[in-house]
Subunit: 214 residues, 2 copies
Amino acid sequence: MQVTVIGAGNMGRGIGHRLVAGGHDVTVVDRDAEEAGQLAEELRAAAQGGATVEAAGPGTELRGEVVILAVYYPGSLELARELGDSLAGKVVVDISNPLNQTFDGLSTPPGTSAAEEVAAIAPAGTRVVKAFNTTFSGTLVEGQVAGQPLDVLIAGNDEEAKETVAQLVRDGGLRAIDVGSLERARHLEGLGFLGMMVQQPLGLNFQSAWKLIS
Amino acid sequence: MQVTVIGAGNMGRGIGHRLVAGGHDVTVVDRDAEEAGQLAEELRAAAQGGATVEAAGPGTELRGEVVILAVYYPGSLELARELGDSLAGKVVVDISNPLNQTFDGLSTPPGTSAAEEVAAIAPAGTRVVKAFNTTFSGTLVEGQVAGQPLDVLIAGNDEEAKETVAQLVRDGGLRAIDVGSLERARHLEGLGFLGMMVQQPLGLNFQSAWKLIS
């Protein structure tokens, strides 16, 4: 599959590693051409199954069905606005955790979520999927924590779009768990928030992951 | 420690097992005297470290510092109203997941939680703690899932009260994780809800648990 990852930061790096581990072709887009190029080079070196990786600047045509907004909130909203009609028909993955400015709460008002806000901004026909907001970047690079594959929790209103994301997740060696409609992104963002809040008290240094064990 | 568990149902049973495993004295209170008696007998047989267990009916004086409301929402609210002033000064543990009538969403409005509602009803000086809402009854009886000790996520505004609950959790062989203020019960209830929603699709039969692995 061809996937566009917008944002060459930590999360773009983590998700990118899982994508190329699964043999998928990745285009890394970043305003900073050097960062995009560096990440593309790193991912190319890690690529398996003939996966290709290229770097591109903003304004490039979005290649492939899946676009991952690997940026901080509210950058994800600005991006959705900027990209506008080019998102129509795409599977757009929102990974953000909308922390407030004091990093001790969510900045989205109760009764909505960053993912729902992205969906409200994106053009009709955009299939927004929430995913990867409860998995930290370093653990995505590794693909596991303490020998256990990461769980990637997925919410969205389009079943086919969720299955597309789930396939990417599984191909990267992780477990995909569909938690239901896009509205449930509220709870995923709550969980992502709690995960961040306990890092310092528990001394976890973002090397932890929420997992549904059974 | 002396703990009163109100509700001799599944969750009262699960939590009761952890309490007596930790050597704590338990009073089981239920409107149904037979159920209370049966659970008390079961817990007595499982008790360790000299823990005592007795059964009592409603209206009994609340013994000990900790009262666990092991009932369904909104029964927890009714209970807080009924118990009224007898809760003042107590550590009151709300374990509920406020599911709506169609079991596909939360019945609490956005911007609050069952735990905060209990706190609003309880008299001044009641120290409400959210805990045990992301751990299913059967897994509490066992104390683990897949060989891993359960995580019990705890939220509350009174540090001492949270530490009291955390101590009970640890004594029962589980891991306590303090996620912060009582307001964060909203996210714990969101997580509890998601956990319930994936049971049937994933065929887990409530033998799973959310865990922060690291």
